[in-house]
Point group: C2
């Protein structure tokens, strides 16, 4: 056999403890906000039958991006590329006994076969927030408020991001009643809109003109609209526009004011039926979409189950990390290990173990170093592992039952017995952040 | 397309919120104990190149049980059946910069194509604890002490489980120096030992006799030994037996006393090089192995990397749940949602949202119910979701700014303003258990 590579599989990441700390921080914020809004965690198997995604996930993803294969029993299975179909399956399976409104969240890892491009990874993690059972806009309002609260919990202010709203049925109304396009023209226009931000803007306008002819200016004007009240009065004959107006009102009342209308917001999945939204970074250096979601009232029909209204979003770890980096919002994260107990030399190994165990009995997180390395090397080890303090155990300490603890960041030292060390370490604020 | 099934893929589990609570409890205990001993969390991609497992995972697993397939780029990849090879890859990749001792843990999901049998699932989660860089028995002692501490943290006492020890090199010594078998006979005897507990015991003895002849009784006597001091004196000429004796001494000194010697403990993986151990349920109704581990000093050699001593174990969620059920150690787990704020009728929907948001601002986990269901139905919904209390918002409450909160388990009620509710809910003990 040729030599094995130590590199991770293409397009994936290894998480060393220092990388894991950042991921844990992100997951912790996600969990904290989700649970604050009364959402409960669920999970589903990593593999699903491939047919589950053939229904409504979207052709491009299923044909070109899913990881599917035949298992040893001849079943066509797929590593989940998204969580919503699994969620719909769980809800459909217990539809009779589950009481609405259902508020569920999950943080699954998802897989897509992405070509190697910057920022496109094959494995990523995603917060999924979903509210089932509410058809009025209070559902959209709650879910978008959670998206907003997550961003705030990460330290973002409203000027760092913007929430763009659109509505699938408003688009239908515009294509049909307002522009009076036939089905084919509406479909081509929709696909073109989806590519708008990836195209040269002159080319975009030329292609629009090829579809719309004399209605081009009328449509281009709609694309400029950022405030719902600037839409032509005629559009408010559609329920969709009225819903968006009501949603904006409710959001404003609860302090969510960085929202805009944007007719180009479409979202990739086929299952959306109503409001769609997308959160963008406003930083001109990184003006990317961070995440989004929308209403999907009809997904349970793929199981021949009764319809159930639903609104949700999916927020990925990669986009989140990019946003936090851009805005310098990543906090300094120390190890979950609160203290490194090091023996001065091998003669005090057993005493060091004893000290460590007594601290652990007080619920303190302790690593012990009884190797024959020099004490300076041990302190350096603690520092490299981001463990904030060291307790040294030698002859005097063993005799007196008092131990000197050094804060590595400041060099400050204090000498206490085990009970004293426990009190100090129990009140340690960095610990609460990381556990 | 035919109708989609709502059932999970064969051999896997869906985790509804009530199932997830138990899994979260198990993960939380695993994390708490791991971190108390100074272990830091890491992770690796779900997929690895299949060659990684061909090296030392074991033939049966690789040929019959792994989920491998060819990706869209022609690579032979595998959904990880175990974590240790990924861990070894991470360590080998940064061997120069990582400072030992390394204490790492992870809670990955793992996949094996198991035939449908009771308790054998295709997807399970596993706590992996590994200590790199220590060659003396203090490494085994620490890792086994963690296994013991995890069991205790779950509420197990020493009479509920037993830790069985063996040593790969002691077996070699017994087969070679003690019984003087040739390589072929030693191999057959080893395979036979591994099947001992799945065989009729007369058949087992007959097959032993076929290999060992007149040495059969000498060997059968060894199989009865549970205390190291009852081993024949000659065996202590091996370093392995001396190490086991020292390990037992250290463990006894730190309060781990439910340990036994057992020559039949082998462990499935090819990479173990020294001490191996396995934790068994002592309940006669469920006398199964719960989990195990051992020393593997040579695994980094598959990457042509420098040797690095290592000891670890893997503890699965399924075996853990079975053990907890058998011994009635599963605590009662309520929702992470602390309170359900229900509007008395739709007229108070906005007031209910306002109350919920004010509580959330105080870091309380709140779900809100502003549907047009009757208040009795809303209370039943909260109860079915295991949410422990309900706050009802109607005309009087809105006017007075005081709200009645009912504990659903006792029926007790109290009336407080928002500040009062916050204080009560912040001091809520069930919350700390579940977040």
């Amino acid at each position: 056999m040729s030599q094995l590579s130590v590199r991770p599989y293409k397009g994936t990441r290894d998480f060393y403890p220092e990388d894991m700390r950042l991921q844990r921080y992100i997951f912790e914020v996600w969990r904290r906000v989700s649970e604050r809004f009364g959402y409960e965690e669920y999970n589903a198997p990593l593999l699903e039958m491939t047919d589950l995604y053939r229904a409504k996930t979207g052709e491009e993803i299923v044909n070109e991006q899913i990881y599917n294969f035949t298992d040893r029993g001849g079943r066509d299975v797929t590593i989940r590329p998204e969580m919503t179909p699994s969620l719909a399956r769980l809800v459909a399976a217990k539809q009779q006994e589950l009481r609405t409104p259902l508020r569920w969240y999950s943080i699954p890892n998802l897989w897509r076969y992405e070509r190697a491009q910057h920022g496109r990874l094959r494995e990523h993690w995603q917060l999924n927030i979903d509210l089932f059972g509410t058809s009025d806009v209070s559902a959209e309002a709650e879910v978008i408020r959670i998206a907003h609260a997550v961003m705030q919990e990460f330290g973002a202010t409203e000027h760092m991001f913007t929430i763009k709203l659109n509505h699938r049925e408003l688009m239908s109304y515009i294509f049909g009643d307002y522009l009076q396009l036939n089905v084919d023209a509406a479909h081509r226009l929709s696909k073109l809109l989806d590519r708008k931000n990836k195209m040269n803007q002159d080319a975009f306008k030329n292609q629009i003109a090829a579809i719309l002819g004399e209605k081009t200016d009328q449509f281009m004007a709609l694309l400029e609209v950022e405030r719902l009240r600037d839409l032509p009065e005629q559009l408010f004959q559609s329920q969709a526009a009225q819903q968006l107006r009501e949603l904006a009102r409710v959001l404003h009342n609860t302090g969510v004011t960085n929202i805009h209308f944007d007719l180009t917001i479409q979202r990739g999945f086929d299952y959306y039926t109503g409001t769609v939204f997308e959160v963008f970074d406003t930083n001109p250096d990184n003006p990317r979409s961070i995440f989004g979601g929308g209403r999907y009232d009809d997904l349970l029909s793929i199981f021949q189950a009764k319809q159930m209204p639903a609104v949700g979003f999916g927020m990925g770890d990669v986009g989140t990390m990019n946003f936090l980096r851009t805005h310098e919002l990543i906090p300094s994260l120390s190890s979950t290990t609160q203290v490194y107990v090091a023996s001065l030399d091998p003669a005090y190994a057993e005493e060091a173990e004893h000290v460590a165990n007594q601290l652990r009995d007080g619920d303190i997180n302790v690593a012990v170093d009884t190797t024959d390395q020099k004490i300076g090397a041990k302190i350096k080890t603690a520092d490299k592992k981001n463990i904030p303090r060291v307790v040294i155990v030698g002859a005097e300490e063993a005799k007196a039952g008092k131990y000197t603890m050094r804060e590595l960041s400041s060099g400050e030292e204090l000498t206490e017995d085990i009970a004293g060390l426990r009190i100090i370490l129990t009140n340690d604020a960095t610990r609460r952040l990381n556990i």
